[in-house]
C-alpha cells in the first residue's frame, strides 16, 4: 500500500515538475522551513489495560518547501511529517501536503496531497470530512493525513463552488499496545476492511458551496465515498468487527457574526448500509475585548452537541454541553489559554481540557495541554476505555 502511495506521489511529482519547467520563464520564489518538536506526555493514573505506559517522550520534525512563480499564481507545496514515540503506532511519517496549484482570475486548481478544513464550531468538527484524522497524533482530532485529490474551485457572485475528486483512501491509525487512549483490544489498520470491493482505490467525490454575505458565512457540502470513520460492531465475545462503509453525507455550516457575537451551527446527515444518522453542534462565542485597556481578550464559548447514533458511534458526543473560554493576552509573546469542559447531559461523564501557548524569543514556542476524564460513566462504550487516561502534555517547538 505504501508502494502505491509512493507511486502516486512520484507520478504527481513528475507531472508538476514538467509543468513547472515550462513556466520557469517567470522568476520563482523558494521558501524552505523546518520545525522541530520535543514533546512529553504524562498519564498520571494507573493504566486500565496490560502493557500501557505512563510516560511518553517524543520528537517530531516538520520540513516544508514552497516554490511559487507566475507572480505567485502557480506553486508547488511540500510538507512532510515524522514522529518518533514510545508507542510504535504513534511513531509514523506522513506527507501532509504535496500539491501543485494554479490560480487564474476566479478559479483555482490543486492537484496532489492536500488538507481541507470545513466548519465553524469549536468543540466538534462534524462537516469536516475530506481528510482522514491522524488519530494517534492528537486527542482533539484536528491533525489530519494528507489526502490525494484534484480540487477545482470557482468564485462567483453567488459564492464559491468547490469540486473534489478523491482517488485514494487513507486508513486511520489506531494506538498500539503501549499506548493510552485505546480499547482493550489492539486494533491495527489492517483489522478494518472496506464495504467497497475497490478498497482504498474507490473513486470518491465531494462538492461544496460556500458564501459570505453581510453577517452570514454559510457552507453546504456533500460527500459520496468511503467514510473516514470506521463502523464498529462489538460482538458478545468482545471481538470487534470493523469496516469502512460507503457513505453519503450532506453537511451544513453556518456562522452569523454580529458585533462581538459569533453564532455557530454545524449539522450532518449521513447514510450507509447500516444506518441513517443525524448530528449537529450549535452555539455561540462572545468576546470581551481589550478589557480595561490591558489588551487582554476573554472569549466565552457555549455549544450543544447532539448525535443520534448509539453503539455505532465512534464519537462519544451524543447529547453533551461544551463550555469554554479563550484568553488572549495579545502580548509580545502571543500568550493564549483555552479552557474547556464537556459534560454529558444524561450521564455523569465529563472531560476538562486546558491548552496554553507562549512564544519565547524569535523562534521557540511552548505549548501545554491537559485533558482530564472525570466520573466517566461505565456505560460509555468508547469513553469508558479512557477513564484512567487523563494526561498532561508539554511541547517545545523550535523553528528554523
Amino acid at each position: 500500500m505504501i508502494k502505491k502511495i509512493v507511486l502516486f506521489i512520484s507520478v504527481t511529482l513528475f507531472a508538476i515538475s514538467s509543468i513547472a519547467q515550462e513556466e520557469t520563464k517567470n522568476k520563482a520564489t523558494h521558501d524552505f522551513e523546518l520545525e522541530l518538536e520535543g514533546e512529553y506526555r504524562y498519564f498520571f493514573k494507573a493504566p486500565s489495560f496490560n502493557n500501557q505506559k505512563d510516560h511518553f517522550p517524543s520528537i517530531a520534525v516538520r520540513p516544508e518547501y514552497n516554490v511559487a512563480w507566475n507572480d505567485g499564481y502557480e506553486s508547488i507545496t511540500v510538507k512532510g511529517f515524522f514522529r518518533l514515540d514510545v508507542d510504535s503506532e504513534r511513531t509514523h511519517w506522513d506527507i501532509r501536503e504535496l500539491y501543485y496549484q494554479k490560480a487564474k482570475d476566479n478559479w483555482e486548481l490543486s492537484i496532489g496531497l492536500k488538507k481541507i478544513y470545513w466548519g465553524v464550531t469549536e468543540s466538534n468538527h462534524l462537516v469536516d470530512i475530506i481528510n482522514q484524522t491522524d488519530a494517534v497524533e492528537s486527542f482533539d482530532g484536528e491533525q489530519k493525513l494528507g489526502q490525494p485529490m484534484v480540487q477545482y474551485s470557482l468564485n462567483t457572485d453567488f459564492g464559491t463552488f468547490d469540486l473534489f475528486y478523491l482517488p485514494y483512501f487513507r486508513k486511520r491509525t489506531f494506538p498500539g499496545e503501549k499506548s493510552r487512549l485505546r480499547f482493550p483490544i489492539i486494533i491495527t489498520k489492517n483489522d478494518i476492511g472496506f464495504q467497497s470491493n475497490a478498497e482504498e482505490w474507490r473513486q470518491d467525490v465531494a462538492f461544496r458551496w460556500s458564501h459570505s454575505f453581510s453577517v452570514f458565512d454559510i457552507g453546504l457540502s456533500h460527500f459520496y465515498g468511503t467514510g473516514r470513520e470506521p463502523i464498529f460492531n462489538f460482538n458478545l465475545n468482545g471481538n470487534i468487527n470493523a469496516f469502512y462503509p460507503v457513505i453519503n453525507q450532506t453537511g451544513l455550516d453556518l456562522q452569523i457574526t454580529h458585533d462581538a457575537f459569533l453564532w455557530k451551527a454545524e449539522s450532518i446527515y449521513r447514510t450507509n448500509i447500516f444506518q441513517d444518522m443525524f448530528a449537529f453542534t450549535a452555539g455561540l462565542e462572545y468576546t470581551f475585548s481589550n478589557i480595561k485597556s490591558t489588551g487582554v481578550d476573554i472569549g466565552l464559548i457555549g455549544e450543544y452537541l447532539y448525535d443520534d447514533r448509539d453503539e455505532l458511534a465512534l464519537n462519544a458526543l451524543q447529547n453533551d454541553l461544551f463550555f469554554g473560554s479563550r484568553i488572549a493576552f495579545n502580548d509580545v509573546q502571543s500568550t493564549e489559554i483555552l479552557l474547556g469542559g464537556i459534560t454529558d447531559l444524561k450521564k455523569s461523564s465529563k472531560i476538562f481540557s486546558i491548552e496554553a501557548s507562549r512564544r519565547f524569543g524569535k523562534s521557540l514556542k511552548l505549548e501545554i495541554e491537559g485533558r482530564l476524564f472525570n466520573t466517566i460513566d461505565a456505560n460509555e462504550i468508547i469513553l469508558s476505555n479512557f477513564k484512567d487516561d487523563s494526561f498532561f502534555r508539554v511541547t517545545l517547538f523550535k523553528y528554523f
Binding site: 481541507i116 459570505s212 457574526t257 457575537f261 481589550n290 495579545n330 524569535k362
Partner: protein, 255 residues
C-alpha cells in the same frame, strides 16, 4: 440690546463652529481625493516592537490592498515572522458605514475563521498599534473640526463615529502642499489624555501622485513603549482584482 448682542455672538460662534467642521471635513475629503485612483498596491512591512527597557522584537508581513470605488478598501495581510505564526493571514473588507468584515486564516489546521471586527481598540500583535489604527481610513468614520493652520500644515481634530473606538479624538496634521499627506497623528484616550503619537517619515511619491511613508513610529506616552513600521518594495503595478481578495486567495497567501 443685550439680547441682540447675545444673538450676534451666538450666530458668530455657530457660524465658526459650522465652518470649522466644514473645513475639517473638507480637508479630510481633499486628502481622500488626493489618494483616489491608486487601484491596488503591495508592500512588505517590518514591525519592530520596543518595550520600555529598549528590548526589541520583530514581525514581518506582506500586505495587499485593493481600492474600491463605492466602499472601503480590501486588504490581505500575511505574516512571515515570527516563524510560529508564519502563514497566518487576515482578509479585511472595510466598509464606509457599519462594521468591517474580517477573516483569519490559521495555516496549521487550514481553517478560515470569520472573526468579529468589534475589537477596535485592542493591540495588533502585541504592538502599540490598535486594530483601528491599521484599518483603512475612510472619511465617514470620523466627524471633523478644523483647529489651525501652521504654514502648509493643517491641523484637524477628528472624533471617531464608532463608540467602540479606544479614542475620544485624534489630532491629525495634514501637509497641504504634499497631496494632503499625513505627517503626524496624536491619539487621546477615553479620558481625553494624550496616549500615543504617530510620526510619518521617509515619504516617497508613487505614480507621480500617491504619497507613501517608508517609516511610521508610534510612541505610547503612557507605557513608554514604541512600535516602528518600515515599509519596503511598494508596488502599484500588479493590478490586483477582487479575485485576489477572496477566501481562496487568503488560503493561498498563507499556504
Amino acid at each position: 440690546m443685550n439680547n441682540k448682542i447675545l444673538i450676534v455672538i451666538a450666530v458668530f460662534v455657530l457660524n465658526s463652529v459650522i465652518s470649522s467642521a466644514q473645513n475639517g471635513l473638507e480637508i479630510a475629503k481633499a486628502a481622500d481625493i488626493a489618494d483616489t485612483g491608486f487601484g491596488s498596491s503591495t508592500v512588505q512591512l517590518k514591525m519592530t516592537l520596543k518595550n520600555k527597557n529598549g528590548q526589541t522584537s520583530e514581525r514581518e508581513m506582506s500586505t495587499k490592498t485593493l481600492e474600491l470605488k463605492n466602499d472601503g478598501d480590501k486588504s490581505l495581510i500575511t505574516f512571515n515572522t515570527p516563524k510560529d505564526v508564519k502563514g497566518t493571514a487576515t482578509l479585511t473588507f472595510t466598509h464606509k458605514i457599519g462594521s468591517d468584515d474580517q477573516w483569519l486564516y490559521l495555516p496549521s489546521i487550514k481553517r478560515v475563521k470569520r472573526i468579529s471586527s468589534s475589537n477596535k481598540s485592542g493591540p495588533f500583535m502585541g504592538s502599540e498599534f490598535a486594530y483601528e489604527d491599521l484599518s483603512s481610513q475612510e472619511v465617514e468614520k470620523y466627524t471633523y473640526k478644523f483647529v489651525k493652520a501652521q504654514g502648509d500644515i493643517l491641523i484637524v481634530d477628528q472624533d471617531p463615529v464608532d463608540p467602540k473606538s479606544g479614542y475620544t479624538r485624534r489630532v491629525v496634521s495634514y501637509n497641504k502642499e504634499k497631496g494632503y499627506r499625513i505627517e503626524k497623528v496624536e491619539f487621546y484616550d477615553r479620558k481625553n489624555a494624550l496616549l500615543k503619537t504617530l510620526m510619518y517619515s521617509g515619504y516617497k511619491q508613487y505614480k507621480g501622485k500617491y504619497w507613501r511613508a517608508s517609516t511610521m513610529v508610534m510612541s505610547n506616552h503612557q507605557s513608554n513603549k514604541e512600535t516602528t513600521l518600515q515599509f519596503s518594495d511598494y508596488n502599484f503595478d500588479q493590478e490586483l482584482s477582487e479575485d485576489d481578495f477572496s477566501q481562496n486567495a487568503l488560503k493561498r497567501a498563507g499556504r
